[in-house]
């Protein structure tokens, strides 16, 4: 009887905390809770309705299961059309289980909109940039993560069926929620010859026996049965197309990169997002939020891929600062974590010419239960971390993150026990920790938006050097940390460089000033009235023109990813 009461209590806990009515969704949005797929959509609609001037809500496309993928654009029309401004792209939840990434995106939108006009810094980036926000990329994954029983790591993929175990059937042997509690936990069976015993300090923890010791348990893996009778448990679950291995740049087939899908952008929702991004060539910075581990990852995702040192320097402007905003994170090239092919960040950088970051949200070490948070783990005792995590669960999270081991009669194994970390644990912060996580990470996006290029142009020197001939010098300055164009885009001729066009007089010669003091200029051989350039991070670019004629000379600077600028001079 007691068992049933406990079960009842557990069900009550999970339903109340994670899926019951959490109140009306209204502006400002709340972040002490998680939003399921429908609620994310509702939240976006609410924001859109509250800020009709500043926002636009688009359906980018549909997923494999027909759910709509939404993008919220934040742009102040009074300061220009979105395409005329540096674009900031933010997405999340490309992996279905990594849900707090969606909350970061919602928070970023909520912060920009609710503090516009109140906070100077926020007002500035709302006025300066076009912000494109797709809180949930893998909409089916988010839906199923909330609705179905899951482990903290399952339901990652896009729902393209795949025969994982090579038996000719697809997705026929996934997890099974044997005890019906909405979580896929662990199974253990009493076994005097097993390789595990319980930790003497906390009997919930399984530790490996030392050689010669008597075992107590065998671990049977995640909750489930052998649905297809092949002697393996849970080996062919839902999907599998990894949405972060299916992009076009450096895509490799499944036998090289698992989860790659059949061909680049075979995921229809991903293809739609690619089309959405392609139609917005002004995007200069992009964030894709994931969980977990606390990392800022930049390109390249494979060691042999070249990144220009000046591009790394531009990345560093944000990456190194981000480390301080999100303490405990590491900032590194993504191949340092592991090699990936067909990842979104590389596509964004090498195909769309935008600086791209992966944000790996949440470090489990922040689930502390101790006096001194700086105290590091004692090395050598494998149970130290789980002990503390369980104490955190018991004393701080009120037991919501862990399911106590409980007897169950398994159709194959007979009497076993089921227990362990629930799906809303391990990779997700407890809702009480969510507000800080979303705020700090959204602040990094804000930092990046603030660092998108701001170009000023001035005519800084005019000299008459002949009858009807003037030497005019123009300076373009970038006051921010991101260049107007990545060095890679210039090198690979990804798209036309920024242009400086002179009109109003005949340009006899024109070119880049290498050293203004000794008048060293590289003149462009043909068409000197159009100069191609990119303005580096915190850099200047100076040009000299020899112009024949009189009257007003106009200099137009235009860029795909930075705002245009104009200057003029009367000769």
């Amino acid at each position: 009887m007691r068992r049933y009461i406990l079960l009842f209590q557990l069900i009550l806990i999970f339903t109340t905390v994670f899926s019951a009515d959490k109140g009306k969704i209204e502006v400002p949005l709340r972040f002490d809770r998680y939003y399921n797929y429908e609620e994310v959509v509702e939240a976006l609609k609410v924001l859109n309705k509250a800020f009709p001037e500043l926002t636009k809500l688009d359906v980018v496309g549909k997923s494999e299961e027909g759910r709509e993928i939404y993008a919220l654009t934040i742009n102040n029309p009074k300061t220009g059309e979105p395409l005329s401004k540096p674009g900031v792209y933010v997405d999340g939840n490309i992996h279905g289980n990594e849900i707090q990434a969606g909350e970061v995106c919602l928070y970023y939108a909520n912060m920009l909109l609710t503090k516009y006009g109140e906070n100077d810094k926020i007002t500035k980036v709302v006025d300066k940039n076009a912000h494109y926000i797709i809180p949930v990329v893998n909409v089916d994954g988010r839906y199923h993560f909330f609705t179905d029983a899951n482990t903290p790591s399952s339901n990652r993929s896009i729902r393209v069926p795949r025969d994982d175990d090579g038996d000719g059937l697809v997705d026929e042997d996934g997890y099974d929620d044997l005890d019906g509690d909405g979580n896929i936990c662990q199974m253990r069976i009493k076994d005097p010859f097993g390789a595990y015993k319980v930790d003497p300090e906390d009997k919930r923890i399984m530790v490996r026996i030392k050689p010669g010791e008597q075992g107590e348990y065998t671990l049977l893996g995640f909750e489930g049965i052998d649905n297809d009778g092949d002697g393996k448990l849970n080996e062919d679950g839902e999907g599998y197309l990894d949405a972060n291995r299916n992009w076009g740049y450096n895509w490799m087939p499944s036998y090289v990169q698992s989860g790659a899908g059949n061909f680049p952008l075979s995921g229809i929702g991903l293809k739609a997002i690619n089309d959405y991004i392609t139609a917005r060539p002004n995007i200069i910075i992009g964030f894709a939020f994931h969980n977990n581990g606390g990392m800022w990852l930049r390109v390249p995702s494979e060691k042999s891929i070249y990144v220009d040192p000046s591009d790394i320097a531009a990345y560093d402007v944000i990456g190194k600062e981000a480390l301080k905003i999100t303490p405990g994170y590491v900032y590194q090239a993504s191949y340092d974590l592991y090699v990936t092919y067909g990842d979104f960040d590389s596509h964004l950088f090498y195909i769309n010419g935008a600086f791209s970051f992966t944000g790996e949200l949440f470090q489990r070490e922040s689930e502390t239960y101790r006096e001194d948070v700086k105290k590091s783990q004692q090395p050598g005792n494998e149970a130290d971390l789980p002990r503390e995590l369980l104490k955190f669960n018991d004393k701080v999270a009120q037991g919501e993150l862990y399911k106590e081991w409980k007897k169950f009669i398994h159709p194959t194994y007979g009497e076993i026990e089921i227990g362990g970390w629930v799906k809303m644990s391990s990779r997700l912060p407890h809702p009480f920790m969510l507000p800080e996580l979303v705020h700090r990470n959204a602040s990094v996006v804000l930092l990046a938006a603030d660092n998108t290029p701001e170009i000023t142009m001035e005519v800084f020197d005019v000299k008459k050097i002949g009858k009807e001939l003037h030497q005019v010098r123009v300076r373009l300055q970038n006051k921010k940390g991101l260049p107007t164009m990545s060095a890679n885009s210039v090198k690979t001729k990804l798209y036309p460089q920024d242009m400086l066009k002179v009109s109003g007089g005949k340009v006899v010669a024109g070119g880049k000033i290498n050293d203004a003091r000794i008048n060293k200029v590289t003149y462009k051989e043909k068409k000197p009235e159009i100069q191609f350039l990119a303005i580096p991070s915190y850099g200047v670019a100076e040009y000299q023109f020899l112009i024949e004629g009189k009257g007003e000379i106009i200099f137009n600077y235009s860029s795909l990813k930075a705002k245009c600028a104009t200057a003029s001079v009367k000769l």
Binding site: L219, G229, N234, G248, S254, S258
Partner: protein, 614 residues
Amino acid sequence: MYKNLLTIFLLCLFVVSIESLDAQNGISFEKYHNNNEVQQILKNLQQNHPAQIQLHAIATSPGGEAITVIEIGKNSELDPAVFVGANFEGNYPLATEGALGLVKMLLDSSKYTSGLKWYILPLPNPDASKGYFSGLKYDRTVNDFPINNDVDESLNEDGFEDLNGDGLITQMRVKDLTGTYIASKIDPRIMVPADVKKNERGEYKLYTEGIDNDGDGEYNEDGEGGINVGIAFPHLFPKNKKEAGLWPGQTPEVYGIMKFIYDRPNIAMVYTLGSSNFCLLPPKGGRKGEANPESIKIPNRFATMLGADPSRSYTMNEVIELLKLVLPANVEATPSLVSGYLGLGAAVNPMEDDLKFYTRLSEDYKNYLKNKSFSIETLDPSADKDGSFELWAYYQLGVPSFSMNLFSVPKVKEEKKTEKGAELPEKVEKKNPDELSVKDKSLLAYSEKEFGGKGFVPWQKYSHPTLGEVEIGGFVPYLESTPKPEKIDSLLKIQLPWLLQLSKKLPDISFADEKVTDMGGGVFKLELYVGNKGYLPYPTSIGERNKQPAPVVVVLDGDIDLLEGLKRTPLGSIGGNQVKKLTWLVKMDKKPTISVKLESTVFGSEVKQIKIGG
């Protein structure tokens, strides 16, 4: 003599029988067909054979052209299929005719359509194919996808111009102090690089015919388009080439073709008509940088994690065993996981076992051509190109991929001065250092013989707006790839039947035998023999590596208790003309028969009842 007469007689019969079907099938091969005509032919065929033919609109090109696959055998849902694609680069109109020719042959006889479905794509790159039919002929390979080739302020602003008004884009040669070319001493029509070591001084610069429309000093560097569909597939995608696009599938033709093929797992073989010829020359090997999965080095940082020695080499199975020890219980160690983590990369050279059947079949093909008195003393077909459809089909679909180029210019025989008994072998090989290349010689000879010299536009003076006095001339576009229309019919009739014959080499998997042994106590040993009566293996060796072709599975059904073995047993790979044995140990109490099914998404299913225990 009699034999020759007989051949002629038979040929006549063949020709007559084909001609008589023209009206009904609406295809004739007196000319090359543009996309409008191709689409119309396909529509007519569908209307004439509604039970057999289905058309699939798989994409629209950036230029708005329809791209259609014709399916022959729509009534046979469970059959394996051959996919045929032709003219991916758009500059091989003969390949499109080849695809239409194949359609016709398949409709003429049911020999190759019973138990086999065909998907034929005659023109995957219709935008580029416009180049052949337009008033201004150049070897166009790119579609209308907007690409700013010279990354300046405007798009497609500097294409070719037909300055001399002959409808052809040839070359311009200009006397220039900094030129690096001279006219060949053997044949002054041919321009060759000056060899300064031989005290030659460059006299000419070479340009393609046209003007510098955008005034940037470059000639014809940003014409119409585009992406070359024929080099835009994902295997060895040439990411540094503008004409490949930015990623494989960026252009809708390629995306549509890949989707169409992956939606049909019954496609068991792929043919490509174009510039390479895997029927004659197996896919090339020797590419560097390939990881050998049987000899893997484990980098330091992983070695520590796995407890491995970074200085020695491991086999894939050894790495998997090491990995199993450190992976969590729920993560399966697979070769794909290993290659991913260690960054082993893709296969880039054909697998040894596959080269065996390629080589053997190419010998057979040479004999086949010899019997038809068809000379292969021609210029070599092009090597397979990175990003090509035929390479993708082999490496990523993992199916046998055969290509054919249908036409090559006859090779001018090298005059070998073999001095018998010469002491110094170098002397024998020595030839005139100014000799033209075999290709140039052959093309000139071919132009002379077939076109009365019109395959080469003689250099003619022209007053160019920016270059001053130039001469315009050179080989005519499409000379190399596209014979006179009157040749089409015979080229197809001789070569295409080989592709039909090859389709009979497909794997043919079925039950061969069975054996039941009573072990006593209601326990039986069941041995099943499954054979491949076809010549080709299933899957290919590369297919085994990339796990792409769907498995053939043996499924047991009935009231049985399996003591050993699985209800669903993947057959694994099976070579041509090979039989495999599968064994189960079963305990049976009641029903004396069980049903055994051979299940495959490619070859369909076969069911058989086996009596156990009488």
